[in-house]
Structures are given as C-alpha cells and as structure tokens.
Symmetry: C3
Subunit: 350 residues, 3 copies
Amino acid sequence: MTNSKALSVSELAELVGGTVFGEGSTTIERIANLETAEAEEIAYVDSEKYFDVARESRASCLIVPSGAKFEDTNATLIEVKNPKLAFAIIGAALNPAKHREPGVHESASVAETADLALTAYLGPNVSVGEFSSIGAATRIEAGVVIGDNVSIGVGCVIHPNVVLYDGVSIGNNVILHAGVCIGADGFGYVRDNMGYHKFPQIGTVVIEDDVEIGAHTCIDRAALGRTRIGRGTKLDNMVHVGHNCDIGERVVIAAQTGISGSVVIEDDAVIGGQVGFGDHTRVQKGAIIGSKAGILPGKIVRPGVWWGIPIQPLDEYKRLNAHISRLPQMRDELKALQQKIKELEEKLKP
Amino acid sequence: MTNSKALSVSELAELVGGTVFGEGSTTIERIANLETAEAEEIAYVDSEKYFDVARESRASCLIVPSGAKFEDTNATLIEVKNPKLAFAIIGAALNPAKHREPGVHESASVAETADLALTAYLGPNVSVGEFSSIGAATRIEAGVVIGDNVSIGVGCVIHPNVVLYDGVSIGNNVILHAGVCIGADGFGYVRDNMGYHKFPQIGTVVIEDDVEIGAHTCIDRAALGRTRIGRGTKLDNMVHVGHNCDIGERVVIAAQTGISGSVVIEDDAVIGGQVGFGDHTRVQKGAIIGSKAGILPGKIVRPGVWWGIPIQPLDEYKRLNAHISRLPQMRDELKALQQKIKELEEKLKP
Amino acid sequence: MTNSKALSVSELAELVGGTVFGEGSTTIERIANLETAEAEEIAYVDSEKYFDVARESRASCLIVPSGAKFEDTNATLIEVKNPKLAFAIIGAALNPAKHREPGVHESASVAETADLALTAYLGPNVSVGEFSSIGAATRIEAGVVIGDNVSIGVGCVIHPNVVLYDGVSIGNNVILHAGVCIGADGFGYVRDNMGYHKFPQIGTVVIEDDVEIGAHTCIDRAALGRTRIGRGTKLDNMVHVGHNCDIGERVVIAAQTGISGSVVIEDDAVIGGQVGFGDHTRVQKGAIIGSKAGILPGKIVRPGVWWGIPIQPLDEYKRLNAHISRLPQMRDELKALQQKIKELEEKLKP
C-alpha cells in the first residue's frame, strides 16, 4: 500500500528506456490490469495471446513489446523489450514507498548505547537494545523488537511486530514483513536418560542486501557460526529456515517451505511452497524444486527440475505417476495372462 | 476463555427452541462433557452410540435429540433437533464474550484523524494509523498494529499482536486471533539478469462479516484489486492466502494450508489442513479437499471429495493406493508367470 | 545469543565429570567447531570418523570419548563418556543466559491484581492482565501480552511478542520463543443451513516444566478441559497443536508439523517436520514418525519407525517405493510375457 503520484508517459518511458508512440504528455496516475484499466491508467501486455484484449483496453497508456503492431489502439504506447519489468519499475515510480518523517516515536524504548541514523524512523512501541545500530532512511514500524548488538543497514523497511534477536545483522534495502522472527535458537538437543539437553545456539544470522522476507517467516540463529540469507534473495510467508543454513543470492522460496539445519541452497535456485528439506542437503545453482517436494537428509540436488516425495527429476516423476495410474489396467492384463497360461497348461496336459 | 454466568434450564431451552422434560428451574452454570459433567453442568448427546454414557452422566441437564427415550436418567432433559448446535448456542450464552470497558488504554497511540466508536476498546500499546476507523463494540487487544486507512466494523475482536497493513477492510463481527497478519505484500517479482524486481503490490484485502481467522494466519494484499475472504468463512491457524485470492462464503480451511496467488475457492468448500494450492486454481462450490492434498496450478476442482498429491477423486485415490500396496504380490505373480511360461516353452521345444 | 565467560579446563571437566589429560589451568573462552576452533576454544569429537580432524584442530581443549587415543595432539583433553552432551553442558557454562536486572520496564502495563515475583523481569511494552502471576527469575521480553488468570512459573524465558491468552498455565524453566501463541480458540464449529456456529472453546492449555517452544508455534486451548504439553518436551518453529491434544513428556516435534484436535502423543515420541496428524490419533511411546508423514484420523501409531502418506512402517514404505520405481521395468516384463504367450498360442493352434 503506497501513495500514488502522477507522471507523464514521457517521464515513465524514460525510466524504462522505452519508445513512446502517441502523446507523451498524457498524464498517468495509476497502474492497472489490462481488463479493468481506465483513463489515466497504464497497463502492460507481454504475450500475443492478450494482444486483442490490449487493443480493447481503456488504459491511457499501454506498455507493449518492441515491434508489436498496435495501430488500432487509442492508447499511447511505450515500447520496451520486457513489458512486465517496465510495468514493475513504473509501478514503483507511481507508488513511492510510504513516507515517514524521520524521528523516534515518543512511545519507543531505545537503549542509550544504540546508534540511530538521523534519518531513521522508529514507530510506536518499538524497542531497541544495547549497542544496536539502525542505518539512514530505515523505517522501523510499530511494535518491532530489536535486541542487543543488532545491526540494520540503510533503506530498510521493518514492518510491525518483527523480532530481531540479539546480534543479528541486516543488510541494506532489506524488507522484513510483519511478524518476521530472526535469530531464535536453532532446534538442537542432546538426549540422555534424563531427557533433552539444549545444544548451544550461540551463532548468529546474517541477512544480506536487497533481501525481502514474507510475513511470519522464521530464520534461526546458527548453533556456531552463522545462518545466511544471500543478497537479493526473496522468501515468502511462513518459511522456516533452520540453524546454520546458507541460502545463496537471488534464491526464491515460496510460502511454508521448511528448511532443516545446515542446508545449503546455492545462488539462483527456485524453490516452491511447502517443500521440506532434510538436514545437510545441498541444492546446486540453477536447481528448481516443485511445491510440496520432500528432500531426504544429505541429498545433493543437481541443476534441473525436481518434483515429488522423495524428489525425482520431473520427467521421471511424471513417468512413474503415469505408471501408477495405469496400475488397475496392469492388474487386469496380469489376470488375463494368468488365465491364458492356465488354458495353455490345460491344453498341454497329457 | 470467557466469564461464566448461570441460567435456568427453561431459559436455556428457550434460547434453542427446545422442550424441557423435568425441572425447568434447575440452575446451570457450565457446559461439560458427558463423561466428566457434574451437578449444575449441561452436556449433550447426539448419537445413540452414546445414549448409555448419557444415562450415567451426572450432568444436571442433558440436551438430547427429539424423540430419544431417556426415562431412566435423573437429569433434566432439553429435547432439540440438533443437540450439538443447541450445545454451542447454550455454551455461548453461559460464557459471554469477555467484557472490556470501552475506552482507549493510555499507552495506545492513535492518529488524530482516526475515527473510533465511543464503545470501542483499545488495549495497551495498540497503534492506529491515519484515517482508520473502528466500529462500535469492537475490541482491539494489546499490541495490535493498525495501519493507515484501515476500516474495522462493529462487534469485532482483534486479539493481541495482530497486524493490519494500510488500507485493509475488516467487516462486522470478525474475530482475528493473535498474530494474524493481513495485507502484507504479495509474493511477486520480475526477474532480469540483475536479479528480482518487486512487482507492484498495491491492491488491498477485504475480510467480510462473520469471518474468524486463526492465530498467525497471513493474508496478502492483491497486486492490483483485492484479496477477499467471504462472509462466514473460517480459517484455522497459520494458513497462507496469497495475493488476489477470492475465498467465498462459509468456506472452512484447516491449519497450515497454503494458497498461492489468484486462487478462487467458491462458497461452502471444505479444505483440510496442510493442503497446497497452485496458483490460479478454482475450487467449485461444494468441493471437499482432504488434508495434505496438492493441487496443480490452473486446476479446476469440481464438487466431490478429493485427495492426494496431485488430487484425485477420493475413490480413485483409494483404488490406486490399494493397487500400490498389492505391488509386491503383483511382482510375485509376474515372476510365477515367467516361470510357467519358461516351463511351457521347454515343453514345446521340439 | 548469550554473554560469554572464561573458565579453566579443570573447572569445565568438573562440570561434566570428565578426566583431564594435559594442562588443567588452560583458560577456555568459547565453544567452537573442530574445524574452525582457535586458541582458547573448546571443541568435541565423538566419532572415530573425525579423530584425524580432531588431531589437527587448533582448539586449546578437546572433549573426547573415554579411552580414545590422542597422544599426538597439543590440545588439553577432557575424556568423558558422552562428548556431545559434555559439550552442551560446557557450552551452557561458557554462555550463561542473558542477565536482566529484575524489575518492570516503565512502559509495561501490569494489572493491579497481577502477582509478580520480585526477581522477575518485564521488558518494554509488556502487558499483564488481571490475577496473573509470574514466578521468580522469570524473564518476560518486550511486547509480550499476558491475559488474565495466566500463571507462569519460575526461571522462564518468554521471548518478544509472545501471546498468552486468558487462563493458560506455564510451568517452570519454560522457554517460549518469539511470537509463540498459547491459548487461542480451537477450530470447532457446528454447521446448520445458515452457516457455521462457533463451538465453545472454554478449556485451557497447560505447559509443563522444562518445555521449549519454537518461534511462532501455536497451541490452541481445549474446547472443554485442557490441551497439554508434557514435561521436557521440545517443539520447533511454527508447529500447530489443535484443541484438546495431550502431548506427553520428552516428546520432540520438528518444524511446521500440524496436529489436529484431540491427538494423544505419548512420552518419548519423536516427530519429524511438516507431519500432519488427523484428529483423535494416538502415537504410542517410542514411536518415531518421519518428516512429511500423514496420519489418518483415529489411527493408533505403534512403536517403531513410520513414514509416508498415509504412514506405513519404514521398511514397508521403502519396499513399496522400490516396487514403484521398478514399475516401468515391470511393465516391460508384462509386455514381454504377453508376446511370449501369443507365440505359444500360435504354436499350439491346430
């Protein structure tokens, strides 16, 4: 939810390196869907399948792929190579992030040794522990709890009721959605005949620059060393990241996926929702894992598309699934053979 | 947890349109289980299977199905058509919702432009943003964070530490349990060779009347337009609802189910726990989906009972599962056939 | 995250009943991994597989299994029966729990009828309801919301933004991580032709001594009676425990597992992550259930190792999985037989 702002088509085209066809001075106020767009709105189309819908759109401006023919439309056009990306950039320009006056709300509790940038914003009931630092232009919304020795970079948005345990480190331009919990103790115990003894959880968590983390995602601190979320990685809601995991750069993980301790996910992996990782697995660069998959402990997941419980290459998964669905037919064929053999045996009886 | 209140059997019977057999002036203080009920308690029985247990119950009053014969019990009886429903209604009467004196706790932070009903209650450390409104008799418990331009209807209970992002709309008589998060950004990005760019998430969320949402459930705002939870729908704990979903009326969704973006669930669907929905699926009115099921993107789920990953009609799922469990036997039969054929071939050798 | 403290090898050995070989006065400041340990650090080795790594470790002290031969190392040795357990105990000694000065932060809101031990700590923006009690040396971190009639024992650590609903009971030495929610209403409704009516949820939750509960785990109150988490049990992050569950002592449950209503899990069970339990299941003492398993309602899970959806004994699961992966080959064999029989039939034609 952001505050909207009007810009001209020419200004928008310049932002995305696009070419304008039509009236560049047209004012655009909002982004919209092709189907529901109205005057003063901008929409995009990136697939020929929707060209007809686009031609009928009432949007004042359309972002279209370079070389597309749109003579019959009344809309002003911006031609670009990647319309969806241009739409994202234009959407951000028309809806600048919420502005907060820098300052600390009177109800916030900030330790004297904490180091807050002058341009930081701290909302109601925020609390900040000893020796923690908050960078310039970072926005900490209501109810956020920041422990001791926490470091938060510049330009971050920390949404309400996030909890950052002692010692965790948050990079620049990081977005943490409501209720995110970073740095709780990893789940490690030693059993003896009395019960479970807590294994030390004294490591930390490092969240690198440009990471966005969905609501209520929990990232545990390392037992020793650190749990890491690499630069530009995006996690959806309610993801669980166990202690000592090392998630690389530009990784995408969908909602409710659970990652056991000491898992390594290399750069650019794409992970679906509700996936479960056994501990000490390694996902190699470029691997894609489908939703609801299950990965056994210690497994190495090579590049390619993976699916199922336990995971298999997608092609193999499909092939086995097809075999399974033909099981009733196979059963019938087997029975038919048994009958035939019986008949043959009868015939051959002396 | 509510405050209990004593009523007579006659008063209770009137509430549920029931017929009293025995002493209508008997005082009832609490609801209880058949097995553990004591004097001044009321229990219910709705299945003949438990009639004997009911006859031995020490409850002062029993709610029984119309026409049931309970001559041998000492309890006063209330006869109704649906004993479990009557028990629910009587339970609510004996345990009225927690009463809070209207008013705003001194530690709450309320924007000057916010519009609070005189009979609303705002607990400790609640914060309310600009231009938000809170309806009559609505109770906002401690630590709740309400953004700007949020609308909350009458008679709602918002439990502690709930977060409502800017612009979301909550109907009347809505119950949000602790930690619910409504309106965080949907999970949408555009990839280029630099990494992921955030796709605009500037829509909203609409929660209609009589909805109850379990602890820590997260409902994301729409990219454009709105995410909707229809009237009378009930969500359990830790459910994830992605951007632009449209959940109909009187839908029930059990805990930890995850719903990707743009999913439509029509009225009266029943969804188990830990179910996963691919994006753009549609669940038709009257469909029932078993726990842990997985639905592939774009799938249309017709009325009936569905099960498995990927989902199949329950009967088919059971049939295939039976075939799978007979695989070892099928293997043996196949081997026996191979042997027999070998023997036949031997016999037929010239 | 804790504050470290230096101790001598002799002091540490005494803590764990170990025998020192080498210089007992050596000062140890930190625990570390074998591979990365440096001077003034202590590491452990419990498997012969790592003896060579241990010999090359730069740790000042190594905890080794009784009878192991480590003549060639420069490190001081502590010999014990269970090195990992000794390491856990020594780790706790070197990293004592965070110290908070007893007292109530000025921003906390505490009901006049609440009963706080003199040595308890209440952080910023904590709120405590009527007639609740907090035991000695218990630490309640920022933003925690405690309802009315809540009882919390001695020596507990309640991390930020935990919510305890009215009437729940927390034992001694309990650790609740950030965002834990205890006592929200169970998920129970009665359907009629108008929609869903809330079934009364007026029971409570009892958490016994020495329990640790991971971030964002939700434990619902009982409809009637109580939901119980037994002594010494450990729950990971984002576990869902439904109404009226009875979880025994020393049970371990990994992240994102969901437990429906009225499930009984007996002492010493071990449950993986993302497991789903149907209602009214019973897990017997000593059962082990693998991650992602699914248990049908009403099932009794006997001792042993279980796996799959629906669960089967692990051996059987593996056997069936092997059969499934051989399905394509089985198909081929079946076809070959069909061909052979055809040939035999040809031969036998008159």
